[in-house]
Symmetry: C2
Subunit: 328 residues, 2 copies
């Protein structure tokens, strides 16, 4: 189809792989090329119609790609890559360093405005879908409180921290919301809760032979910043169990607002995700917003945007008439 | 404050009363007047700064009101009132006759385009917030299925039907989602479910003296369209219990999408509401979208819109910068 949206991917880790899968579910889109900083010939891809190219080649594809989906990380990749690509393409990214979003927005906005492109930043589920729900729930119930819970989900940063403990051969960490805290919030009590009061940390650890498990556990639960402030549970398992039961990347969470209207009527709005694959889901959100970026740019709406500025209709491949008839 | 959004209300039933309460929670808004078809002097209102006027007076208020919130019903009020008011004001309504939405949209669109006003139709939670979630979940997970459950909630139409049964002195009907059906859907099984397989109907009935309760129950559960196709439970209670425990208007429900990404990873998106007062919550949604209608009109975006065409940022009184910093 010549009127498909032509998509490129920059970065080929878990998120990039998820994006390849997500585009396959969208008949209105075509994946043209994947750009990588590695040697392209070393990247194994089972997609015969997709080119794999070094990232330096992107500038040759400005007429061949409508939207570039940036699948790099927030710490080091995106702060450089987003303005670089925004000078050539409409872009989507999943920048998630909350504290630096205003600064990042401004850098990408300048680049996109210069080139007349449209860049939607910080897309995914948090930031992303969770953010939309926080905003809308607050606007609808001004007299109330927002709560965000994460998990049950694998935390990459905390898993890395476990693996650096002496005597640990391998391990993963799941963040789990505390059921009692969720129930309190859903009951409309609007309690004050710290992040540690909302979540516990559950670790599955493989000990190296000859090391004292009690000491390993102690080293984990007292680790500052990562575990010391939380209720932390450490389970020792075998190498085989780790591979078999803990190799997936599940995640999810809840955004709940408890509010009051009129004569103290309690009103609860809740949005939740239960994801077997966090990167594949995040990629699916990026792809839906790629459709939006393409359309907004056609309308002349250039510069950086966030999910807050995107009307739902831009995400769907269906016409406004169909959506009104079938989904309203 | 002279830069408040000046709001009018047309229609003063449960929804109109809820709208008065919702506006009080919005410092950026001012309620100017309520328009009614009844004799205005018979309408008791505890709001000293709000005028109560006959609906025919609305045309004198075109310079004094920025947005008119239409609180009439879908069956007979809105099809006439929405185009009438759209010729004079930006409007918001909660038109919910799903099958007739395309026709209604077109009528309101013509009126609003003629006057250069902005009308957001079918606002509330279903249609409304539920519709947004159906659209977004489908766009993000194309390979999947949407499920909408309603309740636990009081159904006005079914309560009226009960009260017409011979020997019934009073009664209410709650629609309740069936827990097993919800669990199946949340588990990602994507089952085929009819409305009757998703919901049961629970009735609380006051029998008149001298009538046979078994016969009343039989008359209710076999009533075509309303109850015959459903699992229906009838509970007999006293007049006092009816007044004490069943005079509120709770409602709520769930929109759940079960989808698959990549190699059959299950992904569940869920949005739910648990409302102690259905009309007050619906009113709170109308008021947030009144803010959007006002702003869209200032930008020159005239004609009829639905919630699908409204970006989240328009709902919040806060600036885009604040929202990016605090809620993204």
């Amino acid at each position: 189809m010549s009127n498909q949206i032509r998509v490129g991917i920059a970065g080929y880790g878990n998120l990039g792989r998820g994006t390849v899968e997500a585009i396959k579910q969208c008949p209105d889109m075509e994946l043209v090329a994947i750009f990588t900083r590695r040697a392209p010939e070393n990247l194994v891809l089972n997609e015969p119609n997709v080119e794999v190219l070094h990232i330096a080649r992107a500038e040759d594809y400005q007429d061949k790609i409508d939207v570039m989906i940036l699948c790099g990380g927030s710490a080091t990749d995106l702060p450089d890559q987003a303005p670089y690509f925004a000078r050539m393409f409409n872009t989507i990214d999943s920048y998630d360093t909350h504290a630096k979003i205003p600064e990042y927005f401004s850098i990408v906005d300048n680049a996109a405005k210069e080139s007349g492109k449209t860049s939607i930043i910080s897309v995914g589920w948090d930031p992303g879908l969770f953010s939309i729900n926080r905003l809308m729930a607050e606007a609808i119930l001004p007299n109330g409180e927002n709560y965000t819970f994460w998990g049950k989900g694998l935390s990459q940063g905390h898993s890395d921290a476990i693996r650096k403990v002496e005597g640990v051969a391998g391990g993963v960490q799941y963040t789990e919301p505390i059921a009692e805290a969720i129930e309190k919030v859903k009951g409309g009590a609007n309690p004050e809760l710290t992040t540690a009061e909302k979540h516990r940390r559950v670790c599955y650890v493989v000990a190296e032979e000859g090391y004292d498990k009690a000491k390993i556990e102690q080293d984990i639960v007292t680790m500052p910043n990562y575990f010391a402030d939380y209720h932390t549970e450490v389970n020792f398992i075998s190498e085989e169990e780790l591979k078999e039961n803990h190799s997936k990347l599940p995640h999810g969470g809840f955004v709940i607002r408890g509010g009051q209207t009129g004569q103290n009527h309690k009103q609860i709005i809740e949005f939740s995700l239960n994801l077997e694959s966090n990167p594949e889901f995040t990629a699916s959100v990026l792809v839906a917003y790629a459709r939006a970026a393409y359309r907004l740019n056609k309308e002349g709406q250039v510069g950086a945007k966030t999910v807050f500025e995107i009307a739902p209709v831009y995400l769907s491949p269906r016409s406004a008439e169909d959506l009104r008839r079938d989904l309203l």
